[in-house]
Structures are given as structure tokens and as C-alpha cells.
């Protein structure tokens, strides 16, 4: 009597509508805009089709090239450091210790607070010339560091904000560690393998699917970092923390250059897509899935 397909379709309708309106349409529209000289304050009808001119403009745009270099630096430094740190803490929190639940919660907390505006503001005060860190240095008898006033250290402060939010990657690593069968470690113990060798030969290979997942997520998030540089340094000094998402925002909402801003967004999208595609392509060389292990076992 009831058409299950119809009712099922109604269940997914809100998502479909939301997806079409707020994801698919802006996605396509931004590409169309990237081929025009649209300005935010003008009616869209006033925009002229300019083909690939916006993309060509990037070749001579020193600010874009600086921003792109800074963005790559940020991603290449942040992602490996964050993955390594999250894995280290996950391994430590995997030990059977009294009160370990408390520590897991405590280490996860920063990720809940995460990259929020409030935390970025707090971060700015912590790293300011007269901030908490330099005050602590003073108490210990050291001179202060100009964290936000020097191009190198300003970027370092932004990187640290991202590292501080290692909790979500850590939880995923922890789940992966829990899934590794105990019998493998017992067999390694019997064979006399050291803890380090067990980690290297058992833990890490069996954790590669989780590592792969975390890698993809972190790459995507790092390329989209906005709050930190926007609130803490406004991209400075000397554009040393002027990440590409910040430039996209300023082109659209400060300079009203909607067409160019859309083109920049598409360049960022393509960069993320290339990194993701290369990661997926490379996984056959370094990611070890349990299903393959079982298949290999069967083969023997």
C-alpha cells in the first residue's frame, strides 16, 4: 500500500535539496564566475566573459605566487608533524595505564575547541610580544622571542595552532591501534622482537590504512586553513602567513574581485585534487589492507 521508494526518496530529499543548493550549485557557479570579470558589488549580468584571463593573471601575480609558496610550506610542514605527533600520543595512550580514559579525553579536548575563532584569539595573546610564553621565558631568565613580528616565527605560531589540534587524528589512530590483534605482538615477543621492531614491523604496516585516511583528511584541512592566519597575523608580517584561503577571501570580500577569487578557489581545488589523487594512486605501494593480508594467508 505504501510506496517504500517514494517514502525513502522523501527521507533523502532534504539532503538532496541542501546538496544541490549549497554545494553543487556554488561549485558550478564558482567555475563559471572564474571565467568572468564579475565584481561582488555589481549585478552578475554586468560581468563579462573573459575566458581563462583570470588564470593567466596568476602567472604574473607576485602576491599569488608568494601565497602559493607559503601555503605549500605550511602544508608540507604541518601535515607530517601533526600525523607524527598524533601517532606518538595515540601509541602512548594505548598503554594500559590507570586513569587512561582521563588522559584520552584531556588530549582530545583541544580538537573540540579546535581552530575556533576564540582559540585563535587566545593563541594571538599567548604568542604576543608580551604574551604568556614570553612572560614564562622571562621568569626563567630567558629573553623573549618576537613570535608574531618575524616572518619565520609568525608562520611557526600558526603551524603550532594546527599541531595543537591533533586530537581527532589521534582518536582515529587509537581506534586503528585497538584493531591490531594482540596475538601478533605475543608471537613477536616469543620471537624476541624489541618494542621498536614490533612497532616498525607490526604496528606501522597494519596502521597504514588509518594513516592513509588521516593523511588525506589532514592534507585537505591544511590547504583550507583560514582562521589562524586571519585572526592571529592577518597574513603578515610581509605576507609570511598569507595562505591561499586568506587571499581568496580578501580578493572576494576586500577587493570585490569575484571572478579572480573564484579562479583562485579553483586552483586550490585542483591542487587538493592532485594531492589526493597522487595519494590514492600511491597507496598500492605502502598501504596494507587487512583483506589483502587475509587473501595472502589463504594463498599460502
Amino acid at each position: 500500500m505504501y510506496n517504500n521508494k517514494l517514502i525513502g526518496s522523501m527521507y533523502v530529499t532534504p539532503f538532496i535539496i541542501g546538496f544541490l543548493l549549497f554545494t553543487a550549485f556554488p561549485f558550478i557557479a564558482s567555475f563559471v564566475l572564474s571565467l568572468t570579470d564579475a565584481r561582488l558589488q555589481d549585478q552578475l549580468g554586468a560581468a563579462n566573459f573573459t575566458g581563462l584571463a583570470n588564470y593567466g593573471e596568476m602567472a604574473g601575480d607576485a602576491t599569488f605566487q608568494k601565497s602559493l609558496g607559503v601555503t605549500f610550506f605550511y602544508v608540507f610542514v604541518t601535515v607530517p608533524l601533526k600525523l607524527a605527533f598524533a601517532l606518538l600520543i595515540a601509541v602512548i595512550l594505548n598503554f594500559k595505564l590507570r586513569g587512561i580514559g582521563f588522559f584520552r579525553t584531556a588530549f582530545y579536548l583541544p580538537s573540540i575547541l579546535g581552530g575556533s575563532v576564540a582559540i585563535a584569539v587566545v593563541w594571538r595573546f599567548v604568542f604576543a610580544g608580551d604574551g604568556l610564553i614570553n612572560q614564562a621565558f622571562g621568569v626563567l631568565g630567558f629573553g623573549g622571542i618576537n613570535w608574531l613580528g618575524e616572518p619565520d616565527t609568525a608562520m611557526f605560531s600558526i603551524v603550532l595552532l594546527r599541531l595543537w589540534q591533533f586530537g581527532s587524528a589521534m582518536v582515529v589512530f587509537l581506534a586503528g591501534l585497538k584493531a591490531i590483534p594482540e596475538d601478533l605482538y605475543e608471537a613477536a615477543d616469543i620471537d624476541g622482537a624489541s618494542r621498536f621492531k614490533q612497532f616498525w614491523m607490526i604496528t606501522l604496516p597494519l596502521l597504514t590504512p588509518v594513516l592513509f585516511f588521516n593523511f588525506i583528511m589532514q592534507i585537505v584541512q591544511a590547504f583550507q586553513e583560514f582562521n589562524g592566519p586571519y585572526i592571529i597575523t592577518a597574513g603578515g608580517p610581509l605576507k609570511s602567513s598569507y595562505l591561499l584561503p586568506l587571499m581568496i577571501y580578501e580578493e572576494a570580500f576586500k577587493y570585490f574581485n569575484l571572478g579572480y577569487s573564484s579562479a583562485l578557489s579553483w586552483v586550490l581545488f585542483v591542487i587538493i585534487a592532485i594531492f589526493t589523487a597522487v595519494a590514492f594512486w600511491s597507496q598500492k605501494h605502502w598501504v596494507f589492507y587487512a583483506q589483502e593480508r587475509d587473501d595472502n594467508k589463504g594463498g599460502h
Binding site: I17, A234, P237, F253
Partner: protein, 435 residues
């Protein structure tokens, strides 16, 4: 089974109701009546309260007209308004900044021409200069709530502590740095500001020499010589190396934080600012107790015939060009700017009003005193015939000044190169942005 079906009914009904609500929400006529006006502005909470009270009083005086206030802080307001104007959902009456006219009404047709509403709005309360600065191509687009100029304000408590007199000339200003440094140490500077603040100060310095606006819209270029821009670079070097103005590295060490929220300003170590008179309350409010801010005499170069004041409307009201009830919107603007009831409700929340009757009303009520009155008097006394182009405040021009001065401050470019680039790069930017 019956239970499951009921739940399905409920869920399906919820989805349908949700979709219907969403669709209803898309209707532009949602809950609106012909007699409803919308007005938007930015400001702080006390400003919001005062404006909402003024709107309530307007509704009382105009039965049948409802006014909906849409208000935010300054941050993000332009982005919001831009999106509304692009999407044709902007309010009937909007508060804008002066240079936004160049963004939204380059030909003067972006907003309603208030000349056609002069029977309702008493334009005789505004001086010719104010009306001119709201006019583009003969269309009166915008009426200023207040006019503002950048003036020199100093923390008199710190100056007294250092035994240094408030500067009255450019040379005295430069000399206060070494004097205060000697008396109070490394942490103390007579004046502080962003690169944007310095660019405004340097503009005044140049205009006092040339007697012309710094930006010439007609030629899309700077109205000065390369030598004048070299003097700007020299001025920045003199002030920062003389410990008069904090060096780029020192300022940046506090991160992206407004000047009035910086600890050295709060405790009096940064003892001055070149700031809008309409905004000075924001700066005095954050000072720790026991400190006094005083207005300094405006420095003039030898032979200057104009102070080079960046004197312009700070907030302006405009009417949406697509407004369905321009007469009602005009009545609202007249009530807020010229009607003693509306003027008293708004008070000094947007600075000293520019309307003559509004000024008289507040003066009679004893509200104009102290720093506000002194600032108004100084502005009135200074020679100020030069009208600056709004393009001086264009974001790309501002950022152009910042990039070069920051490079100079960090030693990435020499003073000579900075002077040359201030001329060539800013001219290139003006050529690009002036339309």
C-alpha cells in the same frame, strides 16, 4: 506494522512541513507589509540601543510605518551589505562609509537621488561641502550623519611623566621620540598606529606642501612629485628610527589586534594616536584609570595653506535605488538627522552630528563638551579647502602603502627604493582601480 506506518507518516509529514517552511522562507514578501521599512547600520551595543530607540520614536510619530533595524558590528558589515546589494535584498535605508560610494555608485545611479526628496529632507541643515561629498555626477546619493577628521591625540599623563610637552609642529613631533625614550625607556613611544594610520599622516604632510588632493581621480594618479613620495619614506624612517613611532617589528609582535586593545596603549606606553575624532571615545575608553588624553595642536609645514586634513563624512545614510517607499525612507532619514526628537535619541553615538539643527539641539542640551567640542573647534579653525578623492581609501591603495612601508620597516627595501615605489606602485594601483 501499524506503529511503523504511523512513524513513517510522522517523518514524511515532518519532511513535507520542513520543505514547505523552507520554500516559504525563500519568499521575498515574507511577513512584509507595504508600510515596513528596513534600515541597516553598524556600530557598538550602545549605538544599537540608541538607534533602536530612535526608530521606536519614529514609529510613534508615523503611525502605520514599521521600521525594522538590521545591525551588526563593523567587521563583516561591508561584506554583508555587498551581498545584499548584489542579490537585490538590501534594506531601504543603509548606513555606508564615505568611500563605499565608489564601490556601489560610481556613476551616481547606484543609490536613490536625494535631490528628488528635498521636500521631505531638510537639506538646508547641511553645508555645501558635506552635500558635495555625498554627490556623484550630480546625484546626491548620501547624507552624512557626522563628519570626521584625523587629529593628533596624546596621552597627557605619559607626556607629563616624561616631562615632554605636547608637540605643535612636525619637528617637535619628531623630537618627542628621543626625549621620551631618554626619560622613560624603550617601551615608550609618543605616537603609534597602523601602516594605514601612517599613510594618512603622510598624506597630510604631503598635502600641506602641494596644496592639492593626494589622489587625482581624473588622471588616475598621485597629485605629487616623486620627491614628495621620497619625503614620505624619509618621514617613516625618521619617526621609527627616532623612537617616535614603533618600528614595524615591534608593532607586529602584538599580532592582528586593534590599537586601542594593545596593552601598550592601555597602560600609556604608546602615548598618542593620529585618529578620527569620531572614534576617539573608543580609544579613551580602553585606557587604564588615571590617564588623560588631550588634543594636540595640528602641525603645519612652513608656508602651508591647507592642513591636509583627511576630513570627510564618517557615516552616511543612503536610500536603496529600488526602494518602494522612498518618501517614507526620506522621512526616516530626516527624523534621524534633523528632527530634535530623533537627534536626542541618537545623541553622540555616531559622533558630533553634521546637521546644523542637530548640533544646536545637542549643544543646547549640554552634550557637546570636552574632547569632542575641542576637536570640532580645531577642525573648524584649520584651513581645509582640499577635497581628497575617495580612492585614497580604496583597499588596494591602502594595501599598496602598507606593502611598501612594511618592506621598508623590515629592511627588505631601502629608503630610496621605498620612495620610488611609493610613487610608481601607487600610481599603477590607481590606474588599475580608478574607474
Amino acid at each position: 506494522m501499524g506503529h511503523m506506518l504511523n512513524r513513517r507518516h510522522l517523518l514524511a509529514g515532518t519532511v513535507a512541513a520542513g520543505a514547505a517552511t523552507a520554500l516559504a522562507g525563500c519568499s521575498p514578501k515574507q511577513g512584509a507589509s507595504d508600510s515596513e521599512l528596513r534600515i541597516s547600520w553598524w556600530g557598538g551595543s550602545s549605538n544599537h540601543r540608541a538607534t533602536l530607540e530612535a526608530l521606536r520614536l519614529f514609529e510613534e510619530a508615523n503611525p502605520g510605518v514599521r521600521v525594522k533595524g538590521e545591525y551588526t558590528g563593523f567587521s563583516g558589515h561591508l561584506e554583508r551589505l555587498t551581498t545584499q546589494l548584489a542579490g537585490d535584498t538590501a534594506p531601504d535605508v543603509m548606513q555606508i562609509n564615505w568611500y563605499w560610494q565608489t564601490l556601489f555608485s560610481r556613476d551616481g545611479k547606484g543609490f536613490f537621488d536625494l535631490n528628488g526628496l528635498r521636500d521631505i529632507i531638510d537639506l538646508s541643515q547641511f553645508d555645501a561641502r558635506t552635500l558635495q561629498m555625498g554627490t556623484t555626477n550630480g546625484h546626491l546619493n548620501a547624507l552624512a550623519v557626522t563628519n570626521a577628521a584625523r587629529l593628533f591625540y596624546f596621552n597627557a599623563t605619559t607626556f607629563d611623566k616624561a616631562g615632554v610637552a605636547l608637540p605643535a609642529t612636525w619637528d617637535e613631533l619628531k623630537a618627542t621620540g628621543p626625549q621620551m625614550h631618554k626619560a622613560l625607556g624603550d617601551a615608550y613611544y609618543p605616537i603609534d598606529g597602523t601602516f594605514q594610520d601612517f599613510a594618512a599622516l603622510a598624506r597630510s604632510y604631503v598635502v600641506q606642501k602641494t596644496g592639492k588632493p593626494l589622489v587625482d581621480t581624473a588622471t588616475k594618479s598621485l597629485n605629487c612629485s616623486p620627491e614628495d613620495m621620497r619625503e614620505v619614506a624619509q618621514l617613516y624612517t625618521d619617526l621609527t628610527q627616532g623612537h617616535t613611532w614603533p618600528a614595524a617589528r615591534v608593532r607586529a609582535s602584538y599580532g592582528n589586534v586593534p590599537q586601542q586593545e594593545m596593552r601598550p596603549w592601555i597602560n600609556g606606553e604608546y602615548a598618542g594616536t593620529y585618529q578620527w575624532n569620531s572614534a576617539i571615545d573608543k580609544y579613551t575608553d580602553t585606557l587604564s584609570p588615571g590617564q588623560t588624553v588631550k588634543l594636540a595642536p595640528y602641525p603645519m609645514r612652513d608656508g602651508a595653506t591647507d592642513a591636509g586634513l583627511l576630513y570627510r563624512p564618517a557615516m552616511l545614510f543612503v536610500i536603496n535605488r529600488n526602494c518602494k517607499q522612498p518618501e517614507a525612507a526620506a522621512r526616516l532619514i530626516n527624523f534621524l538627522l534633523n528632527d530634535p526628537v530623533g537627534v536626542r535619541a541618537m545623541g553622540l553615538m555616531r559622533g558630533v552630528p553634521v546637521s546644523a539643527i542637530a548640533q544646536k539641539t545637542l549643544k543646547d542640551d549640554g552634550l557637546l563638551d570636552g574632547l569632542k567640542l575641542e576637536s570640532e573647534a580645531q577642525i573648524a579653525d584649520l584651513p581645509k579647502t582640499v577635497l581628497e578623492s575617495p580612492y585614497f581609501e580604496h583597499p588596494r591603495v591602502r594595501d599598496g602603502f602598507q606593502d611598501i612601508l612594511e618592506g621598508l620597516g623590515y629592511g627588505r627595501v631601502s629608503q630610496k627604493e621605498a620612495g620610488e615605489r611609493l610613487y610608481t606602485d601607487i600610481n599603477a594601483i590607481l590606474h588599475r582601480v580608478v574607474r
